[in-house]
Amino acid sequence: ANERERARMRVLSKAFGRLKTTLPWVPADTKLSKLDTLRLASSYIAHLRRVLHYED
């Protein structure tokens, strides 16, 4: 049961890492906290939507 939880956490951690790599201006070797990853991703998505929907 502990091992399942640890495995689940590893999956979650990897997903955080992959999300981090989509963010611009964050060097690959920089560590980004989970909180910052989520916040930056929110900002970035909002930015991309603004830019892409500019001509709608």
């Binding site: 999956v11 916040r39 991703a41 929110s42 998505i45 991309l48 939507r49 830019v51 892409l52 929907h53």
Partner: protein, 97 residues
Amino acid sequence: RRTISRKQRSAANQRERRRMVSLNTAFDQLRTRIPTFPHEKKLSRIQTLKYATEYIAVMAELLKDHPKSDDCRSETESEGVSHGNQSENNDWRQKRN
């Protein structure tokens, strides 16, 4: 030291609860940025992360051909994300649904 008082344990628990609240709030904020179908259940944390990653990748790809693209700045948006393009935005997920 391994022996900590009840007070210290309680204070640590409180800090951890507050940390989780801020983390969950950030998850909720990210969820609002991801287009979903109207009556779908709230995305789980892992789904939120995976869909956010894919969504960003799709949009960044679109950005390359976009005539008015300007990828130099990223601002923090306070509120008010437009959800007017729900149906076309949801198409990006067809392959996984």
